[in-house]
Each structure stands twice: as C-alpha cells, then as structure tokens.
Symmetry: D2
C-alpha cells in the first residue's frame, strides 16, 4: 500500500444517489475540522439513505428480512478539511454489482471542490446465523435500475 | 479499486505499539456487532495512545505546539465481525516514515484471529494556518526509535 | 433526586423551533433501540439548528464571534424506546431567558406519542478565556422574538 | 425545573465502583473541551464496567440472559469544562435499589475538583418482548453487596 492517491476523480458520471450533509458541531474536533471517524459515519448514513430510496429501508432489512449489509472493505482519501457550517454534497456511485456484494464510490464535494472520496464494498448477509447470501431479487433489481449500465449477474 | 484483499497478513514483525480494546456496548449496532465507524474511531485512538508513548500527547501537540496529524488516506479490511464482550488486541506497525508524513498499519486480533486491519497515512501539519510541515525533530526521533529499520529521511 | 417523573407533558404551547429526526442505524444499539447518548446528541443538534434559524449559526458563534453556549445542566426522561426507521418530531420550547443563560425544554414525539423529553440550561460564554458573558444583543432579540411572552431581562 | 444546582456534592461516601477515563481527542469539540454527549457516553460506559465487576457483563446480560438495563431518567450537572489530556476519576455510587430499578450517582473528579456529576435511573427489562422485570437474584445480591447499607427490597 502506498500513500499515493487512491482514486481518480471523474465527476462526469451520474450518481445513483445524492444528498446534502451539513457539517455540524458534533462532527468537529478540537482542530475545528471534521473528525474523520464522523466522515466514515456519513458514509454509512448515505448508504442507508440510498437503501431507503431503493425501497429497502434498514429497519425492514434488519427487521422482517433478517439481513444486513456489512462493509468488508473501506478506502478513503481525504483531500481537504471540512469545516463547521459547510454543506457537503455527497454523491454515491455504483461501481460494481455482484450476486452477493456491491462496490460503491462516494464523493463529497463542497462548492464544486472535492473534499473526500471513499470506496466501500458491502456484502449481503443473513443475520441468524451470520453468513453471506445472494441479494433478494427485488433489491438486486432496484440496484440494477439505479445503475443500468452495470451487469448484475457476475459472481 | 477492487474488492480483493487490501493486505497480506504478516504477524511476524514486532509492532511499534500495542494495546487492548474491549468491545463495549457503545461500539455495537442493532446486528449485535461493532458498527464500523466505531472501529475507525479505535484507529484514531490507538494512534493517539501511540503518540502518548512517543512523548508527544495530542494535548501538547494540538495545544502548545499548534500542530496536528490529520489522516489523509485510510484503508480498512474487515475480516470478521467483532462482538460485544470480546477484547481486541491492536498492534500498530510503522510502515513508512517521511519528513512530513507517516504510514501506519494497524491490526486487530482476537484470540489470535485477525478481525480487521487498516492502513492510514498521517501528515504533519501546523494548524494556524493549516499547512503541512516537517515533523518536529524530537517526534521524528521518537518515531525512528520505534522503528529502527526504517529510514526517516526520504521526501 | 428521585426516580419520579421529571416533567409534566404540556403539548399545548407552540414550540420556538421544531424539526424531524429519522432514527438511523448509527443511533441504535444491540437491543435495537436508540442508544441514549445518541439521543443526547440529538438534543445538541436541535439546539444548533435553532441557532441557525435565529441567524447565529454555530460556525459564526464559535468562529468570528469567539463565543459558545455550553450546557450546564441536562435532565432527560426517557418514556418509551425509539426504534430504527421511526421519525421523531422534536419540539424546542424556550422556558426561561436570562442575560447570560437560557433554559430550553425539548420534546420528542413519534406519531403523537411522547418518547422522551429533556430540559437543558445553556450559558453564553466567551471562549478565550472561557468565561460567562451576556448574550449579544441581536441574539437576545432573536430569542425574545422566538418566545414573545418571556421576559429577557432578569439576571 | 430550575437552573439551580441539581446535586449536593458529598465526597465522603465510598463509591460502589470507580475507574479512570482519560479525555481523548474523540471526546473533544471545536471549543477544545469535551462535547457533552461524549460525557453521557462515559456515564453508560462506567455503568457497563460496573456490571462487569458485578459478574454480569453486558454481553451475557444482552446475550444469553435476554435482558437489558435501559436508562429512564438522566440528570447531569456540568460544573467545569474537561480538556484534552486530563484524566477523569469516575466514582459510581448506588443511591437506591429496588426490585426492578436502580438509582446511581456518578461523579467525575479531576485532581480533586468536581467536573460533572450525574444521576441515572436504570430499569431491568427483558428484551423480547420489551418489558420491565425483577433483577435476577444473583445480580440483585451483587448490587446489595456493593452497597451494604441499602435496602434492596422496596418496590
């Protein structure tokens, strides 16, 4: 692993999901900037909000469906500090979709400037007992519709 | 970026720092396992504890020294869920040391089993105004002593 | 201090500020309900959002104004657990307004049912050095306008 | 509710449990002091550590026993700001013990100075379905032993 850039920034593609996150006091550290574990919490939150839009809120996923989507890899590049009072525009891009996992890229911009970006891999699991499983068909279809150019049938 | 393993596990090297972290209620999510942003907070905490050991506590670093060590890249691989009541053995390895940055690898084991590991790159900054700067000599020396095989003079 | 009810519920008065907070995954604990320190974070967040509405965002308060509003007392009564996927309707009531402090009551309802309520006392401080100070006139006026029946001149 | 002191400070009694909590970076806000929801998290953590000592760790309580101890009332008085690098000495006092609930007082001192104190009421519940229940006999006995002067038979 190097300290080089982890990503190239390609703002041309349409995100599968976008939302705005104001930087609040609870996010910020004694240096006056966002404490990076709070940025990682934003990553989880934008994924959760995307699942709401996909018609599969986490309450239903973890409740009646008895499933979850744990994160198995996470990569984040912090390009510039985020400050109290700024508003981050988060864009979630679907990078890869497989039978049992999904790769997402999340970019956070503030007034057109890239502040940080992340890649996460989530796997679909059943909770009792904890083991990986295929996406439920309706959820797979909703993800495919969110990213029509992607092929959802591999592995 | 792929969904492949980010790391190879090499338990043979001596860590620069180690400490134990019990998994507590505040770490855990509705699936009964550690919520991954709390694991990322553990990463920050072990770095902070290492700086204590280096003789440069964050209170002094951020206070009288007017400096900080923001994280610029973060990569984490979650191999197995961590559960309430388990105790994680965190080992911090110094991977690379440069004039203005340091690369660290952190492994979390539970009863000899690798649960997650992370790589972080930290840069040395002055806070007012925020800009990268060289490590203070005493801190650089303390880091070099923690990892004698590493060369602290590059970049 | 007793274990009796801390509050009487009087839903008849108009709140000075209201907003909706969805219960998200990050709020919830292994029992599947909101972990109470996250509810306390919601209390801080609703106060912060109210200060935005008052024309005095925390970024400006803590930044150019060099001031803060630390909480000096907090009382919370948790009436019923809040669950993932529910939406809380938070209502902030101004209870007392003095030259250097303000007393707020915050109620959280879900579908008309009281889930928790809190009382907080905030003091106005300057940060360097940390000492209590009178509200800036524009902020005092904005608070008085938010609660016209209250007398802002005592103590 | 008034903005008066919530507590009298009586340092003469022996705590049922004590532990030390260093103030770390993750606790602190842009004003450089502990963000109060993090202090509330400390309250939960000290209760959890006390249950470990009582022989009933939360992992067993929430796991095999299918029980929990939700907080139903919380009162906190913040006397003086806590800063990065300080070490808080937390003392937990058992105030009242009933068949289905317990009242605790927690004081945080730093170098002999009271920084904050809290009172919490916890109720014993079974989780599925969520309803209050009597303390398991072994846990009740352990609590009584922790506070021999208290009468555990009321209500």
């Amino acid at each position: 692993m190097s300290s080089q850039r982890l990503f190239d920034h390609d703002p041309s593609t349409e995100p599968a999901f976008a939302h705005r996150v104001p930087v609040i006091f609870a996010h910020c550290d004694p240096a006056g900037i966002v404490f990076y574990p709070r940025l990682v919490e934003m990553i989880n939150n934008v994924v959760e909000a995307w699942f709401d839009q996909l018609g599969c809120p986490f309450a239903r996923l973890h409740g009646e469906m008895g499933m979850g989507v744990p994160t198995v890899t996470l990569q984040v590049e912090f390009n510039k500090a985020c400050r109290l009072g700024e508003v981050l525009e988060l864009a979630l891009h679907l990078e890869s979709l497989r039978h049992k996992r999904v790769g997402l890229r999340i970019q956070a911009l503030c007034q057109g400037e890239l502040r940080w970006q992340a890649a996460v891999t989530l796997v679909c699991v059943q909770l009792q007992p904890l083991k990986s499983t295929a996406w439920p068909p309706e959820l797979l279809q909703a993800m495919q519709a969110a990213a029509p150019a992607h092929d959802g049938t591999k592995n």
